[in-house]
Symmetry: C2
Subunit: 109 residues, 2 copies
DNA sequence: TAATTACATCGTAAAATTGCAATATATAAT
DNA sequence: ATTATATATTGCAATTTTACGATGTAATTA
């Protein structure tokens, strides 16, 4: 009916899928890459560089912030965004464990 | 308008987001974990174990197959699914590179 | 104080996702 | 040939996502 039945899955499965969903969009990947490159935080630059409307960028930033992947600090008139190291580490661990659990076996169908 | 503007992003960004979207659902994570555990492939078992309707499981399997993450082989009456090693490796590389590009810096906002 | 700048939020439309019952299909067993 | 079993497909409803114009808000500048 359009809503994910989270109750029937484990907390780990739900948490990982939430983090993945947050980064599973080309615009949000581009935003994260841009933040990572300019280690120091940017923001309004994204609007001019990505080719999406300001409202759209702001919405994507909100989603990344909601998932805890980035954090924003008010800096005068503008807002400075950067990676949240804690969540990034969590993502690396959870996802790394998940991906590494498959050992490319030879016995397959 | 409800449709992602893929044209304005790079092929790498689009490809990675497609793969991520495919695994960004608790049911599909659960399905992949189950396939990985029983290194040898299963299928109908999922319906009984996950608590989702047969049509729903079948649909999730279809999405994973479409993204190239799993592959299915007809085996008598049932179908045997397993991980597609090639795509899994691609995902590990692309995602690994992306996650590793952030070196938890100290200078942040 | 008024104007400007940077960003967030609201409202809305189009499209995609999630889930399931019902039905179709295809192979195996009787 | 008929029945049973396993999976796929169809059709539908509820919900979420994506995108953007318009508008609101908050801090800086004139």
């Amino acid at each position: 009916m359009g809503l994910t039945r989270s109750e029937i899955f484990t907390d780990e499965q739900n948490q990982l899928s939430t983090l993945l969903k947050a980064i599973a969009h080309p615009a949000r990947i581009a935003i994260l890459q841009r933040i990572i490159i300019s280690n120091t935080c940017i923001c309004g630059d994204l609007v001019g560089e990505l080719g999406l409307a300001q409202a759209t960028i702001s919405q994507h930033l909100k989603e990344l912030k909601l998932a805890g992947i980035i954090q924003g600090t008010i800096e005068g008139v503008s807002v400075c965004y950067c990676i949240n190291p804690k969540t990034w580490k969590l993502l690396e661990e959870q996802l790394g464990g998940f991906l590494a659990s498959y050992k490319g076996e030879t016995t397959c169908c």
